[in-house]
């Protein structure tokens, strides 16, 4: 990609990041969600370290998944409402590339802060320190898939009036394997079993999602602006 073709993409990314900073809450909301879940679990099921330690990877993953849902509703909505989205098909950039940039900014805004503060959440649930690195690695591999699948769901429901309610139903079945392999890796590690197969499967899912999902997302956006 030459400099001139990359420029609009970088501009789009910077615009989204700037907008997220000005609106403030966008990165804060997933974090608030993560920590309210992590704080409520011990209160709900009792503060015993053994139990919390066993469920910590799964709980952090579920909290990360659900917090990722929060910002999805508005991912394409404002661009759709003010007509920016239609310009994507008029411009020279391939739409798939623009979709990728959009998803990239979504990941930077919502997933990265959650990953950055996961060590604290892991401490609150007594996750052993040696498993923390692996948990972070699964989050790094898995949350981009969530952004991709979430972006697809967001694009599919764009033209509907109460699309937000559908997002969870659309995302859940597609994200199940990511959840299973990610938490499976950490559990296997804690049980002293090899984690390599889980990580390789996660990488495979990521590659599959990165190469195919943006195409479907672009097609869904296209059908919604018709």
């Amino acid at each position: 990609m030459t400099r001139s073709t990359a420029q609009p993409l970088i501009a789009l990314l910077l615009r989204d990041l700037k907008r997220a900073r000005r609106h403030g809450g966008q990165s804060l909301l997933p974090l608030v969600f993560l920590f309210s879940v992590v704080a409520m679990i011990p209160l709900g099921i009792g503060p015993g370290p053994n139990l919390l330690q066993a469920i910590a990877p799964g709980m952090i993953w579920v909290a990360a998944l659900l917090s990722g849902l929060l910002a999805l509703d508005g991912l394409f909505k404002s661009d759709f409402d003010d007509g920016t989205l239609e310009q994507w098909w008029v411009g020279e950039q391939p739409v798939v590339r623009l979709v990728m940039v959009k998803l990239c900014s979504h990941w930077l805004i919502t997933a990265l802060p959650v990953i950055a503060l996961t060590p604290i959440a892991a401490q609150m649930l007594y996750l052993p320190n040696e498993a923390l690195g692996l948990l972070l690695l699964t989050l790094l591999l898995g949350t981009p898939i969530l952004s991709l699948v979430g972006g697809l769901a967001s694009a599919l429901t764009l033209g509907t009036r109460q699309g937000g309610a559908l997002l969870g139903l659309l995302i859940f079945p597609l994200i199940v394997p990511v959840l299973i392999f990610s938490t499976g890796a950490v559990s296997a590690y804690l049980d002293g079993l090899p984690v390599r197969p889980y990580l390789l499967l996660l990488v495979a899912l990521l590659v599959l999602a990165m190469s195919l999902v943006p195409l479907a997302t672009a097609a869904a956006l296209r059908l919604n602006i018709e």
């Binding site: 033209g159 079945p173 597609l174």
Partner: protein
């Protein structure tokens, strides 16, 4: 010969031709379904010997297995229809893809419920988070997602096209369901029926399964044509062909 078949196939894109086709086929499909179900159920419940381990409770498989196969087959049919919808934008294909989803969801539910009823005495539990069971549950949610997405659009045709994309994305789950018993050795037993080699099921237990499977396939055809026909009539109730078609089949308005 080939051109004529192709022409007849293309003509199904016209609502009126589709209506006539469905009208002509539905009674036959239902009739054959009933014959198949009667023979299959009679054999399954009375003729087939009890299992040496499970006694009579294994007989539920004659509903469970055909329903499970049809749950997946419905999705494959929907995938083909979704491709036709997105590539050629044939309206009857859109309607068939969308009306197939609730049927697929129903067969998935039948599969899950009969499995749970059988699992209680055999496995000692109604439900287990086993790979096969979980992927089947995921299939149910995909069906529900497709139905929900289609219903959320005011414009039916737009809804059908957008939901078709979801159908194509969700198809990744089908091989996962199929191979789940081979990839993960969890609770659900492996496949005993083998199309390309000897099955491990006793031959005396096989005929009712074949009858039931064929009957369920025919039932799916009847349900699909019937639902698609009704949806077409409902969407086009103010159009000229609808009146024409209804008058032809003896419903004077």
């Amino acid at each position: 010969m080939w051109t004529q078949t192709k022409l007849a196939f293309h003509k199904l894109g016209s609502p009126l031709t589709f209506f006539r086709f469905a009208q002509a086929l539905i009674p036959w499909l239902w009739g054959l379904t009933l014959v198949g179900l009667a023979v299959g159920l009679y054999q399954a419940l009375y003729l087939v010997p009890p299992d040496y381990q499970q006694g009579d409770s294994y007989r539920i498989l004659y509903i469970h297995v055909p329903a499970a196969w049809q749950a997946m087959a419905t999705y494959i049919v929907m995938t083909i229809l979704a491709v036709i919808t997105l590539v050629w934008r044939i309206r009857t294909a859109e309607i068939m893809a969308m009306t197939a989803a609730p049927i697929g969801a129903a067969f998935t539910l039948i599969c899950l419920v009969t499995g749970a009823i059988w699992g209680r005495p055999m496995w000692g539990t109604y439900w287990a988070w086993d790979a096969r069971l979980t992927s089947m549950l995921v299939l149910l949610f995909i069906y529900l997602g497709i139905m929900g997405l289609y219903a959320a659009f005011d414009d039916r045709r737009q809804g059908a096209r957008v939901a078709s994309i979801l159908i194509l994305v969700g198809v990744v789950n089908i091989p996962i369901i199929h191979f789940s018993v081979e990839w993960w050795t969890t609770l659900h037993q492996g496949s005993t029926i083998n199309l390309f080699g000897p099955s491990t099921m006793d031959p005396s237990m096989l005929p009712p399964l074949i009858w039931m499977t064929v009957a369920v396939k025919l039932m799916f055809g009847a349900l699909l044509l019937q639902r698609a026909r009704n949806e077409l009539l409902e969407q086009d109730q103010r159009k000229k062909w609808t009146l024409q078609a209804l008058r032809m089949s003896g419903h004077d308005s």
